[in-house]
Symmetry: D2
Subunit: 484 residues, 4 copies
Amino acid sequence: MSRDGKRKAPPAEPVAGTRKLWGGRFRQDTNPAVARFSASIDFDRALARYDLRLSTAHAEMLHAVGLLETEDLAALRRGLADIGAEIESGRFPFDSALEDIHMNIEARLRDRIGPAAGRLHTGRSRNDQVATDLLLYLRDAARAARAGLLDLQEVLLARAREHLDTVLPGYTHLQRAQPVRLAHHWLAFVEMFGRDEQRFRDLDARLARSPLGSGALAGSTLPLDREATARALGFAGPARNSMDAVASRDAGLEFLADGAIAQVHLSRLAEELVLWSTAEFGFIELADAYSTGSSLMPQKKNPDVPELVRGKAGRVIGNLVALLTVLKGLPLTYNRDLQEDKEPIFDTARTLRDSLEVMAGAIATLRVDTTRMREAASDPMLLATDLAETLVREGVPFREAHEAVGRIVGHCVEKDADLRSLSREDLRAFHPAFPAGGRELLSLERALESRAMPGATARPRVSEALDAADALLAAARRELAATP
Amino acid sequence: MSRDGKRKAPPAEPVAGTRKLWGGRFRQDTNPAVARFSASIDFDRALARYDLRLSTAHAEMLHAVGLLETEDLAALRRGLADIGAEIESGRFPFDSALEDIHMNIEARLRDRIGPAAGRLHTGRSRNDQVATDLLLYLRDAARAARAGLLDLQEVLLARAREHLDTVLPGYTHLQRAQPVRLAHHWLAFVEMFGRDEQRFRDLDARLARSPLGSGALAGSTLPLDREATARALGFAGPARNSMDAVASRDAGLEFLADGAIAQVHLSRLAEELVLWSTAEFGFIELADAYSTGSSLMPQKKNPDVPELVRGKAGRVIGNLVALLTVLKGLPLTYNRDLQEDKEPIFDTARTLRDSLEVMAGAIATLRVDTTRMREAASDPMLLATDLAETLVREGVPFREAHEAVGRIVGHCVEKDADLRSLSREDLRAFHPAFPAGGRELLSLERALESRAMPGATARPRVSEALDAADALLAAARRELAATP
Amino acid sequence: MSRDGKRKAPPAEPVAGTRKLWGGRFRQDTNPAVARFSASIDFDRALARYDLRLSTAHAEMLHAVGLLETEDLAALRRGLADIGAEIESGRFPFDSALEDIHMNIEARLRDRIGPAAGRLHTGRSRNDQVATDLLLYLRDAARAARAGLLDLQEVLLARAREHLDTVLPGYTHLQRAQPVRLAHHWLAFVEMFGRDEQRFRDLDARLARSPLGSGALAGSTLPLDREATARALGFAGPARNSMDAVASRDAGLEFLADGAIAQVHLSRLAEELVLWSTAEFGFIELADAYSTGSSLMPQKKNPDVPELVRGKAGRVIGNLVALLTVLKGLPLTYNRDLQEDKEPIFDTARTLRDSLEVMAGAIATLRVDTTRMREAASDPMLLATDLAETLVREGVPFREAHEAVGRIVGHCVEKDADLRSLSREDLRAFHPAFPAGGRELLSLERALESRAMPGATARPRVSEALDAADALLAAARRELAATP
Amino acid sequence: MSRDGKRKAPPAEPVAGTRKLWGGRFRQDTNPAVARFSASIDFDRALARYDLRLSTAHAEMLHAVGLLETEDLAALRRGLADIGAEIESGRFPFDSALEDIHMNIEARLRDRIGPAAGRLHTGRSRNDQVATDLLLYLRDAARAARAGLLDLQEVLLARAREHLDTVLPGYTHLQRAQPVRLAHHWLAFVEMFGRDEQRFRDLDARLARSPLGSGALAGSTLPLDREATARALGFAGPARNSMDAVASRDAGLEFLADGAIAQVHLSRLAEELVLWSTAEFGFIELADAYSTGSSLMPQKKNPDVPELVRGKAGRVIGNLVALLTVLKGLPLTYNRDLQEDKEPIFDTARTLRDSLEVMAGAIATLRVDTTRMREAASDPMLLATDLAETLVREGVPFREAHEAVGRIVGHCVEKDADLRSLSREDLRAFHPAFPAGGRELLSLERALESRAMPGATARPRVSEALDAADALLAAARRELAATP
């Protein structure tokens, strides 16, 4: 081998870099820029509680299979518990020279209990360790997301029930289309967040099997009991394939995708809060506690909370893209690229949880201007479809009815006339089949009540929908509580 | 209102644009550039079969509730069936002036059966219509994805079973790490594709409720029977909220996310096929029928199939990003932006289906060079962990054992010596606890067999894993077959 | 090598697949599914005109360096010209069995001129050929984007000039903030589209060097004249490195990024058109020719054009993500993954060009309701900052002035009072420094005119800005026209 | 207005939340969860140095136009300088209750210099302030990226020059294709990084105009001198339109896109370092200081640095997607969503800078195994194209020559024969035109040297390319140094 490459190289003698626990075969210490670049301790400390739980379970299993003396187990248990207390209280001395949370904990353990610490990593690799930690983290994060989604649904349902008789225009293309109840409108979001919650629940099936015991990629020559650690950590069982266990991150991808979909739903609700808070719509007013002022303009009261929630859809989509891109084209098994899984997952978990919380608060505390809503819904043009369906009931083909009413609308726009002001004769000039009394059929209340199929706007239907949603929510809460 | 804005405007008299079915209230025809820009018929024709099925169910329901005469129903049924035949045979005259598949079918229906065609759109909007079509499409697409994933798993399992005794290095960081069986390696992908299949199965819960009858956003004043059309189309029931039904696309997002994750898994398998086909690895040779030559270099045989499969992860991720971005910040209910849902969904469905098919073919027909694989796995350095675990069994803390073996490895690298050539005395110079006979423990076979926990490399474990995977696959096939 | 792998394999005898031009060393034909999967002719036909131009330049160079007889050159020229005419007229028989546009043209050439066609590919690979085609395509696409951006700027400028004296609220957080001129508002978009145009212009520097002559990756043993073909095709010169030339696609990435940024700007303008078209804002009305109706609701007039333009930001961002992901982690040089560069690039080019065109038309033809705009701008709360700055001119620290006016605003909100109705005494109750006549300073006109620094709302400033923008636009048009 | 909405609401009395500087009109304090959710101080502290520079320039301008007394200016200058020192030394008490860096600095200023601090925000909004800060940040970040790209190019050039005579296979489809010089191979990356550097340089044109003085969106009624602050901060002049200035973030998008493209190029180089470090390729060995070991396997030496660089392409693409998505569909002018611009920009700036640094170090210190490279390049199959071009020089159409050599290659593969072992008679059995001495033409050296056009592999060409690259690099360094 040609010896070359000294440009910008570290000196031949070991640089004053970092000596690593894996350093037996290495003659140079790690370059300091590399140490900084590759350290993950700044973010993977979020895994500390899971890593400690895992280490305890692992130590107990080592003892049970005869690879760890009783006194060593006691020392490890005590040391791990002490470290847990240090981390909880913020006194743990995180050291980026120790790369990651696993090495930080092991080094600290050595400080506290001495050489017995060196027995903990028996039959274990950081590869199976971090894969297990991540699944444990995802299990909690998915449950937190479900709880947040259920809370937001509960707030929406409560506000919807208050506003069973508040009427506003339903929009398509942001044009007023047909009148709806505010309860009906918000129930649409209850449906969306309900599906989001389902998705996080379904994810559990992909979080059920423990990687621990897969070692670096192929298991261990030691007689580890994978069933025992899996059970101790709340898994259904050990992962079926050791290489898959350390190489795969699709549970993380699924979490990021579920989170992105939920945050997109939040962004749609947020957009409406922003719109409805404008002077032009004037449908709602956010509470002061959920609004922000301007550093320059004293009159401003801004809907920063929904704006931020809407904007954060960007980061959450970005997080999903990041991990999909990381995984694309990676051969088996563990590659260091996988370290890039954590920050997007942690960020999405936190962003979603916080967004759900502040949106629930904003919804719970906003004031509804029911008068402005009803005024907006009272535009008679919103009854044009009903007029056409009047003709349909007389046997006119819908397409012909639509065309006739379209011409009536054009006439009203041109003459600046109210659709309801047209007499039967006026109407018959456009189509001979208009029945007597057809005009009386045109009213806001009738428009709502005559839409009486399941899922539509009639008061009994919406009332039933509220009850059904309450029942579904209660069932989902029970299911979440029952999840181990 | 100030009248202005004539720069670059269409002429005052109606341009020779397109007269639309919704044109009653409009005084100008659509600008031709706008007509081209907004037409979706070039891609939404993929929905034709679903739209026809929906229209038939809708017509039957209209008849059942008394909104359609028996002879009109007969005419509609006949017309829709004829159009279906035209489309299947490629004779349907698609017309981009008619915007979309729905209007194309309605216009064609009018040509064929006359004014009765105008009764079909009774109580229906394109909003609920297209939302329903899309769920029907997704149902088929999800099932096709599941079938493709099951087929690929079957091929992998069959090849894995052939290669239960083929040994190759398992890699971490693309460095040889520990020996594994090729069966074990490919079973890792069986696990991944198994989870992918689960995800598409879980999606069914979000495809279970029919939007039809939601109208534009608020239902209809006509006495539609939503339960009947839902049942006729194979749904569990009608959507619970009409606004959600026409405004939401999260089932599409979930499909795109599931597809992206599966394609990323395919890209990882593809990367390995590319690597293993190199002269440097030389582990496999793709069949000629799954390879491509060079237009310039006569000697080339290129792994284009896995390269394309890997590359197509890009488009599939892009499709997911596209729809997430479209939906971000959209207020309720239908907005025309939603038209952008179709192309990414159709493209991902087709890309995934084709990728699964060609990968199954490539795997089924490749040759394995078992000799090259075993040679690569015979590097004694792959046994270093086993050597360290020998010390652990003598009671040495793992960390100390790792350090000692690390120094042994460094010694071997420096001296260009074989790990297995060291005598007990040599070994004891590095650590006194090396037992007699320790050296004999170092062998490829022993390395494989001593990893005997569930999910690891011992022959009985891998053999059991093959049987278990066969059983899971058979169960998944039965479940797919039983899906309505 | 162990011979195995017959499951799902093609039969041993050559399948009835496709015989390829590169097939000399192959014993099996390509599997039909693979042929379909890998064919690009459905989309790369968009390169036909560039491929023909390239082939003509290449043939002329081959003749000039003595590698092609005069009569062969004549035959090739004639054949290529004929094929060009066939493609233009839509009579070219594209054949997906021939993989791509290059092979389609070569095969057709053979049909037309016989064996001389086989001399065209001398010293050329599809690798350098397609890289060159793509740069030629990007050159045209970048220029079309620039032209479209200039056209839209011109429309915006013309409408802005009409509306120099139209006043509307400027918004922050979609809350009315301070009054602005509509001309000023639209000039903001002229700035954005101006930077977009600059970006496409800067891209030219990355399109300046011809890959042709780089062969598959390393050039050719034949005495090709790369300078000659580069000049003939309008490049500044040949690419400096043959491996970079065939392996790189960053010019395509840059085009996709420039396109995504421009489309995001379009989506912001589109969002405003949608908002301003609502009943609630009522600031504008789109022309009928740029609007669409509803299949169900006869009264609807929907802003489909801006909605689609906004939605198409999704696909354009998705296209960028797709190609970034494709390129991530690809080793040198050409890999088949690169085939995935074309569809996103073609799609973004077409989407951006069309979006620019329809937005220019929509802007040119919309009506402005200057009355509604002025009413909205007349909210006295929009003058709160001016009131605070009145105090600043009296020497009050801004923060103190802001706090005082904030309290005044709170008072007015509570009492539902007009800010301008407060007497000097009223004001002095909040801060003693309010000057006499301070109240008179509060007017819409004064608010506009007193903002008299460059880039602000005073009439002379906006008028100057219109002139400056005209001049910049004219200069950009000249520069575009002068681009070779 | 109906008063409602108390569910989950804060109590009626002001919660113990945060009193804000803009709080004049507010009756409730900010909800604590909202305060946490919306605070940006955890990340926007990266703007501190720019904010202080801006504030100093703004204060000096206020003084120059008569809006600030001399002693107040002195106090502000002193206070800002002290705060700068506190921040540099890590002693600044960042307070998340104060929302962002701007409010933190203003509050701290008030602590230090009293009420004069309240004069600093005169005529200024956080909207123009943060837009200006961000451009200043981007200016530095773009220059750091350029410097890092130039450093990496320099290292690559130096290593390339060392390896002018090192030969390895050039690859297409990761199959050995034709021999190239390692210098030529690495020069391909010098070209890519050169274009990346150009892109960051072109960005300067979009960073040239100062938003400061645009106020919240419309300027100020105070006589601010925007030219003066622009010049003081190193801008070419003030932004031309105040609304564009506060609403736009396309310079940030362009930075993120340029960064993503550069990181994708890094990922390609990283992929090669990973591949070349494998036992199978064995072309290079990374220095110990740029490698990492395994916590389990004592023999492992892993290429973590290039793996991380490759993986980080994911986050950098994710950052770009995040901001594109945030901006999509936002109406003018400032919306709080824009706060989401900072984290992706800061993260990409840091990731790219660090990746460039560690890759330069890794390249500088790696060892090249020139023997393994040459062996791999000596595969006679790599000369097949040359053999075909031998026939072309005899007047055989290329396509015919390719077919003949393809059959020869097939023959050699079947017989396991060396291409160079065939006699003239053997060759003539495949094509009669093979000249005498044709076989002698087949050699590695001849293959390299006969590719003698610009940009190809002949030694003089590569040597010239090295000199040209040196000159370009020196010119780029001069240009960067001259950038103000």
